[in-house]
């Protein structure tokens, strides 16, 4: 079974079955992964689905888009692998992806 691993800031992790054709934010919310708020419902407008992607996965996930960059600019604790989960579409190519959650959402 294809999975995505969400790793909380305290190090605990959970494997979530990968559903294709949704967003990483929605997948996390649907599976009640704590630490992802998604207050704007996926419009790239609130910055509360901040995640950090493992370096080796950055190429597969793709670069930040312009709107996302703007929101991440204002996010505390932004890191090179930072993305907004609502802007990442889930595909079969992401099987095995490791996603880290920040300590807080803004």
């Amino acid at each position: 079974m294809a999975t995505i691993t969400f790793i909380q800031h305290d190090g605990t992790s959970r494997d979530i079955p990968l559903t294709e054709g949704t967003s990483l934010m929605q997948l996390a919310r649907d599976n009640r992964v704590p630490g992802i708020d998604g207050d704007c419902g996926g419009a790239c407008a609130c910055g509360t689905c901040h995640v950090i992607i493992d370096r080796e996965w950055l190429a597969a996930v793709g670069p930040r888009n312009a709107e996302e960059k703007q929101m991440l600019e204002l996010t505390p604790d932004v890191q090179p692998g930072s993305r907004l989960a609502c802007q990442i579409q889930t595909t079969g190519a992401l099987d095995g992806l490791r996603v880290h959650l920040p300590e807080h959402q803004m």
Partner: protein, 475 residues
């Protein structure tokens, strides 16, 4: 001082630049309170010379039901709409019949109203086309009081200033604050009179927000009520929001605020220079950041950003603290739900903020010709994003006028705004409200609102001036 508003518009560009440089230099060397007084005198002299009428606070008259108006006559800038209980019907009509609506004749000048959730979101996200400059209130503030704040700046200037101060209310700073907030809430609630009416607004809502502000600003605690007074002046301008603040009183208040904060700044700078470890308050953060460490030399930005933090942390939380009590009285079945499951408090906090929408709108200016909802908006047009209406949009929220503490999408309210200007104090606001309700519930068996609260006169602030309440302690 907003240099542009002081200079004649006919000045040629070179002269204008030189004059602006001279004013900026003067700002850096003349003490700020004297500058404010100077602007006040200048404004009065100009009004005398040009025989301009002073702006007087608007006078309340009963407004007609919206059904009696033609679409073109609807003017939602009226500061009495909320107070007279008509705002829901006015905005519903606009959402249904003219979701992007133009009103050419208002006391605040011509403006567009955007009233549906999705359209507001689109405008809020598009800062390139819809600029937050120069002001986010409906009318322009009194001449000479055009302070500059980053809520009314576009990127990249906005980003640099916001980043310098946002840590003061960032989640990681909040962990340290939680215990302090809780002890203060307990202190205030324990001293409430039992079984006799008292005014909830000054006793609880204002008191708690004033204490919080004094902490964030490291302002002398015993003088904390000055912060509330200044905030009310800043948000209550007749010119800007249709409020009741008198222009002369506002100038005097702003000069007083400037002198207090300039002193506080220099005092902190001197202690830092002497090797004292800087605190985690707003001014210390500004002094520790390259983009803002000389902000005191740019007085209108300095004052503007302090005023922003004070107003931002004052009216909003204060009125949400009152609104929760009112809403649970209006919807007793929700109070029963809450008593049965206090785990609903976090979601209820979002629902309170949605239901109340303490700030009705933010303003934008179109930077180019553009289309929105089928309407042609011209460069330079004023565009109001009515969050209060978006939060009651039936297209987004089922049964939108009802207060439902377990509403599944309550968190998607737009009271914090969206995009780069999204409220940076949102987590602190939620924390304060959460703690208030965690402490209220076990302490009191009834929290009863007596009569109708008195609502604030403003087209921006949706708040309560007074609300009588009686409480009974839990046995």
């Amino acid at each position: 001082m907003n240099t542009r508003t002081l200079l004649p518009t006919t000045l040629n560009p070179t002269l204008r630049r030189l004059a602006e440089q001279a004013i900026t230099k003067a700002q850096a060397t003349i003490p700020i309170p004297l500058q404010i007084k100077g602007a006040h005198l200048f404004l009065k002299a100009k009004q005398r010379a040009l025989k301009q009428a002073r702006v007087r606070p608007p006078v309340e008259t009963p407004l007609p039901p919206v059904e009696q108006l033609a679409l073109t006559e609807i003017d939602v800038s009226n500061p009495f709409l909320f107070r007279q209980g008509l705002w829901q019907s006015y905005f519903k009509r606009l959402r249904d019949e003219a979701p992007v609506h133009y009103q050419p004749n208002s006391p605040f000048g011509p403006y567009w109203s955007v009233t549906r959730y999705d359209d507001i979101l689109a405008v809020d996200k598009n800062h390139a086309v819809f600029s937050a400059e120069p002001f986010i209130v409906m009318g322009d503030p009194p001449e000479g009081l055009g302070v500059e704040m980053f809520i009314a700046m576009d990127p990249p200037r906005h980003d640099a200033q916001r980043k310098a101060v946002q840590d003061v209310v960032a989640p990681k700073n909040l962990q340290d604050m939680e215990a302090l907030i809780r002890s203060r809430v307990r202190d205030v609630l324990d001293s409430l009179p039992e079984d006799q009416p008292f005014d909830w607004v000054p006793t609880v809502s204002i008191e708690l927000t004033a204490r919080m502000l004094a902490t964030l600003l490291d302002f002398p605690y015993e003088q904390r009520h000055k912060l509330v007074y200044w905030s009310d002046l800043a948000a209550g301008s007749a010119e800007a929001t249709g409020g009741t603040a008198d222009t002369d009183e506002t100038f005097i208040g702003v000069a007083d605020m400037a002198s207090h904060f300039t002193r506080l700044w220099h005092d902190k700078a001197a202690r830092r220079a002497a090797g004292e470890k800087p605190g985690f308050d707003l001014i210390s953060l500004m002094q520790g950041n390259d983009d803002t460490k000389d902000l005191v030399k740019r007085p209108m930005e300095f004052l503007g950003n302090l005023a922003l933090l004070i107003v931002g942390g004052n009216d909003t939380t204060r009125n949400s603290m009152s609104a929760g009590v009112l809403a649970l009285n209006r919807y007793p079945e929700e109070m029963a739900k809450l008593r049965a499951d206090p785990g609903l408090i976090p979601n209820m906090v979002s629902e309170i903020i949605r239901w109340q929408t303490p700030l009705a709108y933010m303003r934008r200016m179109a930077t180019c010709d553009t289309m929105l909802g089928g309407q042609f908006i011209r460069k330079g047009d004023k565009v109001m994003m009515w969050y209060a209406s978006g939060n009651r949009d039936e297209r987004k929220f089922a049964n939108p006028d009802a207060f439902l503490i377990d509403r599944d999408n309550a968190r998607q309210h737009m009271s914090f705004g969206y995009g780069v200007h999204r409220c940076m104090g949102n987590r602190l606001a939620e924390l304060q409200l959460k703690i208030l309700w965690e402490e209220l519930l076990p302490r009191f068996s009834t929290i009863e609102v007596i009569g109708e609260p008195e609502r604030v006169q403003s087209n921006l602030v949706r708040g309560y001036a007074s609300m009588m309440v009686r409480v009974k302690r839990a046995k």
